[in-house]
């Protein structure tokens, strides 16, 4: 067993892991209507639709073409008919066109056994082209994968970190992919490495990864002839921040890290090896109000209500339905919101989990200071902001805040620290 590395300073210790049905990941039912959101994040550039209302589309057919940097191709997740193209507001609050496809006709991707290309004969340009063509995005951030890969390959000497550490205790997807599709993860990693050419590769795993899986991974890595080492990390939240990972790997320059997670690598693998566009997403459906939590392989555009239904529906009244994660996700008002290429979890949280309380004045307990993984002083930054001294707050480190949510999680006065920090950064950036 390799010695576990600790993250240095701060963080919320999350020993428990949410329960879920382990084993093979099931394909979610195909949605009757898929609403495909064209802009993945508030920063993405909207691609141009290439279909028109009433048109029949096949599964995996191009719906919208990349408009250049910051934009990706978008494909139809289901075979059917384009019913509507219109502007919508996403749960995150930004506007984007969405394309509604209703299910009709036969499928090709799900029905057939996937073809397997021997990618090893492909060169860098071929792979880059496929990644771009298939509209693969980095699952954790929504950036076009082809862009970040080519950007990396122009700056050699970096470390590729395959981060199988969960973003928060409410996700098990990365860990699970590592145990059920280890070959594909490592293969995906080899594909990424062929394009980007890292100096070395680190596979970051949870300290409690079972020795059996670790052994299997080691075998696969050996066979793959990759320069790859496994490093295990003690468990906490957050564990996906470049600066913090760099620090615990004793790498001074955080820009020398290129972090990809197994779910992205699997999508990359499927695109290159099985010719699959990015129309599926592993979604953890859970939280105290979900009857039988599970990880589902869902189609992009599927309404989250369908996924919840497939997991046995809701038990009791959830306090909040959250997309993404409990620390950094977004609450949604209804169950119509649709799965995107970055939807990693759909959570229905009970009040035992949310533990709501009225906001009270800061009691100076210092808990927020103790948990901040960036070593910042949220207490003082809040004080400066409330005194209207935004610039001083930036000088105190507000610009380095990653919005990880640890401070607001810990705050016993339920002060929306992250909301205030975000707003302040946005308004300072405007100046």
């Amino acid at each position: 067993m390799i010695k576990a590395r600790g993250f240095k300073g701060g963080g919320v210790s999350v020993d428990h892991r949410v329960p879920f049905k382990s084993g093979p990941i099931e394909n979610a039912f195909l949605p009757m209507n898929a609403v495909v959101v064209l802009r993945e994040t508030s920063l993405s550039v909207e691609p141009f639709p290439v279909v028109s209302v009433g048109q029949e589309v096949m599964e995996g057919q191009l719906l919208a073409r990349s408009a250049g940097p910051g934009s990706t191709n978008v494909h139809s997740p289901i075979p059917g008919i384009v019913r509507r193209i219109r502007a919508t507001v996403t749960p995150e609050g930004y506007e984007s066109n969405s394309i509604l496809v209703s299910l009709e006709g036969s499928f090709s991707v799900l029905g057939k056994k996937p073809e397997r290309y021997l990618w090893k004969s492909l060169n860098k340009a071929d792979i880059a082209h496929i990644v771009q063509e298939k509209g693969i995005v980095r699952v954790s951030s929504g950036e076009p994968l082809s862009e970040i890969l080519s950007e990396r390959s122009s700056r050699p000497g970096f470390v590729l970190v395959v981060n199988a550490l969960e973003m928060d205790p409410y996700r098990r997807t990365e860990e699970e992919l590592l145990s059920i599709r280890p070959e594909d993860v490592i293969d995906g990693c080899a594909i990424a490495a062929r394009v980007a050419r890292p100096a070395r590769i680190v596979l970051a795993v949870d300290a409690r990864l079972s020795p059996e899986i670790e052994g299997r991974l080691k075998g696969i890595i050996e066979a793959s002839e990759l320069e790859m080492s496994i490093m295990s990390f003690s468990r906490r939240h957050p564990q996906d921040m470049p600066r913090q990972i760099a620090e615990s790997l004793e790498i001074v320059d955080q820009s020398a890290l290129f972090i990809l997670e197994p779910s992205t690598l699997v999508a990359l693998h499927d695109a290159v090896v099985a010719n699959k566009p990015h129309i599926e997403q592993y979604v953890y459906v859970g939280g105290g109000a979900i009857k039988s939590p599970a990880i589902l392989k869902a189609r992009i555009g599927a309404p989250i209500g369908d996924l919840i239904e497939e997991c046995g529906g809701l038990v009791g009244r959830p306090d909040a339905i959250v997309l993404g994660g409990p620390f950094r996700g977004r609450a949604v008002a209804d169950l119509d919101a649709s799965v995107t290429r970055t939807t990693q979890a759909v959570l229905a949280l009970t009040s035992e989990e949310t533990k709501p309380a009225p906001e009270r004045p800061c009691v100076r307990c210092g808990d927020c200071v103790a948990v901040c993984p960036e070593g910042l002083d949220p207490y003082s930054m809040l004080k400066l902001l409330r005194a209207g001294r935004g610039e001083a707050a930036i000088a105190a480190g507000l610009d380095r805040c990653t919005s990880c949510g640890a401070c607001a999680y810990a705050c016993r006065s339920r002060i929306p620290l992250v909301r205030d920090f975000r707003a302040a950064r946005a308004s300072e950036a405007l100046r």
Binding site: E359, V363, C365, D367, D377, S380, G405, R414
Partner: protein
């Protein structure tokens, strides 16, 4: 500011730690329950009334304050806690207007007038206690013997600390023995337990526990309400630290510095010599522990960062020692914390200068 609990569901993070400010205050109050109960066992009705009046007055004052500010804050538990803490410093049988007015002063003047919870420039309970000592110096120092010791209610007596100060003792006599020699009341329970411990344990170690420490620990001596149940205070403190409701840095620094100084220099009691002070007696005889864990550790009026909290706690311990050694009365602990409450902003300011410099180094 939103007074609505569901507001915390509108922004990420959507999950939270179990702690809330209100829960913290209520748990703090609950850990004082054994102290309250034991004091009532010891002193009966006169003790019960003091607790009751103090808490009632604090709650009523908070209600008035929330009425004025139109913000209902009674549920946050801090007023009840203030009332309880003020009562801990009261002698049993003190005229009831003393706790009533002190608690009202603490909540209405010190807390509410400065902007309510979180904006306190000093711990309201401590301010209330100081207020009581300043206005009713005589009533606040009239102690009685527990009825278990005296057999009847209301036999007045000096606290062991005050009593010991007035004694002249030989150098090699321990303070407890001097007290005994001066026929200071001792319970039969203490003689029995001490006798048993000495026979069964200490004699084999070649040591001897003087009479009286057991009385000190279980409160069979005259003293303020909160001083009577040392063990309960200790257990309560452990609960608070264990649940991470208070940060232990300041109280531990305070108690350690105080104990070391008392041990090294002596607190001016008979029988003490250089390097041979009676730290145990000094810690057990007054309210040091209670003040440390329930008042010096109050987050609102103590420094936020650990390093500053260490300085703060150590300074309180030292001040406390100075008051005990050269001051006249036993309420030195409360005053020490009050003084440091006022100094806190300055400690924090100088410390934040240092951290800012460190942050700059780190980011560059």
């Amino acid at each position: 500011m939103s007074r609505d609990a569901s507001a915390s569901l509108r922004y990420p993070p959507y999950i939270h730690d179990w702690k809330t400010s209100a829960k913290a205050a209520w748990i703090c109050s609950i850990t004082l329950a054994p102290v309250v109960a034991w004091s009532i066992v010891l002193y009966g009705r006169s003790a019960a009334l003091v607790w009751l009046v103090s808490v009632a007055s604090a709650l009523a004052s908070e209600a008035v304050a929330s009425g004025i500010s139109r913000r209902w804050t009674l549920g946050d538990g801090s007023a009840a806690l203030t009332g309880l803490l003020i009562a801990t410093a009261m002698p049993p049988g003190v005229p009831l207007y003393v706790p009533a007015l002190s608690a009202a002063f603490a909540v209405l003047v010190v807390k509410a007038a400065f902007g309510g919870l979180g904006a306190n420039w000093m711990n309201p309970a401590l301010a209330g206690i100081a207020f009581a000592y300043a206005n009713w110096p005589v009533a606040m120092r009239e102690y009685v013997l527990p009825r278990i010791v005296a057999g009847v209610d209301g036999v007045s007596a000096a606290t062991p600390l005050t009593f010991a100060k007035g004694l002249a003792g030989g150098l090699d006599v321990r303070i407890m023995d001097s007290l005994r020699g001066a026929s200071y009341p001792l319970s039969s329970f203490d003689s029995a337990v001490t006798g048993f411990l000495n026979d069964s344990v200490f004699s084999r170690l070649g040591a001897r526990l003087p009479d009286g420490y057991i009385d000190l620990a279980i409160g069979l001596k005259p003293g303020a309400l909160g001083e009577s149940a040392l063990i309960a205070v200790l257990v309560g403190s452990l609960v608070l630290v264990g649940l991470r409701l208070i940060k232990p840095v300041a109280p531990i620094a305070m108690v350690s510095v105080f104990a070391i100084l008392a041990r090294v220099l002596g607190t001016g009691l008979p029988g003490e010599a250089f390097l041979n002070g009676d730290a145990l007696f000094s810690l057990g005889g007054g309210s040091v522990l209670l003040v440390a864990f329930y008042m010096a550790a109050d987050p609102v009026s103590s420094p936020v960062r650990r390093r500053s909290a260490l300085v703060y706690g150590a300074a309180i311990g030292a001040l406390c020692f100075v008051f005990r050694r050269w001051g006249a009365y036993s309420e030195g602990a409360a005053y020490s914390v009050l003084v440091m409450n006022v100094v806190t902003p300055f400690i924090e300011k100088s410390a934040s200068g240092m951290t800012a410099a460190r942050a700059r180094r780190r980011s560059s």
